[in-house]
Symmetry: C2
Subunit: 245 residues, 2 copies
């Protein structure tokens, strides 16, 4: 049944469905239940706030296109980036599902965000066990990623931290089909932001990036990452991609 491309016939596959289908097989009924998120979606410019700490959007906000990150800011200026969000990831939510956000979310690039009202989201989960299971599995993978960050911040040295984060992102970008033809990928973080994800200052991040560049391991410029020697980078980071799936 090729090309049912009449307008409004079949909702276009969106990043959320694509991601959840990594964890479960959905029937057409379930795909329709998640529905046409394009309809509710909105484009956001780079660097804009999607969720502010303390917000209660009363909805679930999946990221359909573009990149974003969660972050926690201190009053005194310290800032920690908590996670990088790729298409299919859920930026956050609240309402019946959870309390007000304990973090903010910002777009890294032009990004498209959908909006599923909390009550509707819960109704979907109640009605479709396959979706509930996929969400649980997806949450478990997200926990594994967070554990990897805990290990990174708690035990690894600066160059190991950078290496590990870039290995993780490279894999996740690949899963999202976001690796460019020449093998690099777009990651429009400043060195200051990269440092905030790694628990390092921008000064130190800069110096270590220069070392890694000098060793022909990676390149990080203009918001594009090139990994020149993946095996050596993975060895340096002690990276094992098993946790990402």
């Amino acid at each position: 049944m090729p090309d049912p491309s009449g307008p409004n016939s079949v909702p276009s596959a969106n990043a959320l469905i694509t991601k959840l289908e990594r964890f479960a097989t959905f029937s057409e009924v379930e795909r329709e239940a998640i529905g046409d998120l394009d309809a509710s979606s909105e484009w956001i410019a780079p660097g804009k706030s999607i969720i502010t700490a303390g917000d209660s959007p009363e909805a679930v906000l999946p990221l359909l296109e573009g990149l974003a990150y969660r972050h926690k800011d201190f009053r005194d200026g310290r800032r920690q980036i908590l996670s990088l969000l790729l298409p299919g990831d859920i930026c956050g939510g609240s309402g019946e599902l959870s309390g007000p956000a304990d973090y903010g979310v910002r777009s890294l690039s032009r990004a498209r965000i959908a909006r599923i009202e909390s009550a509707h989201f819960i109704a979907i989960v109640r009605a479709h066990p396959a979706i509930a299971l996929a969400l649980i599995k997806s949450a478990l993978v997200e926990q594994a990623i967070q554990r990897a960050w805990i290990v990174n911040l708690g035990q690894r040295h600066a160059h190991e931290r950078i290496a590990h984060l870039l290995c993780e992102v490279a894999h996740r970008m690949n899963d999202c089909g976001l690796v460019l033809s020449h093998g690099g990928f777009e990651l429009p973080l400043t060195q200051h932001e990269l440092g905030s994800a790694l628990g390092l200052t921008s000064v130190h991040t800069n110096r270590v990036l220069q070392q890694l560049r000098a060793e022909q391991l990676i390149e990080f410029q203009g918001g594009v990452v090139h990994i020149h020697d993946a095996p050596r980078l993975q060895a340096l980071a002690d990276f094992d991609p098993a946790y990402l799936s």
Copy 2:
């Protein structure tokens, strides 16, 4: 309908049900679906391995009584404690739900662990949307706790880290009814293990604990924690308990 205390009539309330009921209201049907975990449970001595990294237990292992922790070990001896597990928490699982464990789990005290076969667990989730939702909410809280650890490790100084972790544990212990009559609680970690949770060496952990003790903030000895000045400790840690529920 008081006291149906005939043998094998109503499964005794267990810590897993108690925890999930913080997130949803269960009917008797749902409580029975989770079932009598006592039957499948086993006591484990302190300091024993419950899950070994790389394991695939093909089951979900809820902690019913006692304390445990997840940890990741490096070949070179570095170790990071990833989370503290209290009664009601799920130590881990694998099988259809997730890949092999990327972490190990050890008991901190005498502990009772239940075992729910993966296939059975998935059947329960499929059949009971209320349980699925409670699991999702529970996973979201666990993610929030992990984010707090990321912030701790990435941005806070040693004394702030210790303060924040103890605030978190005090709250969670209280939720589990594990705060002792005199206000303290049992946390049988060595200073070395506490350091492993905080990304610090045991030597530095020791010195900072002495400072906090000297400032009349806390006491940490013989596996028992006393918080002498909770408001000041929370201020030091910039602790806000909202994320724990």
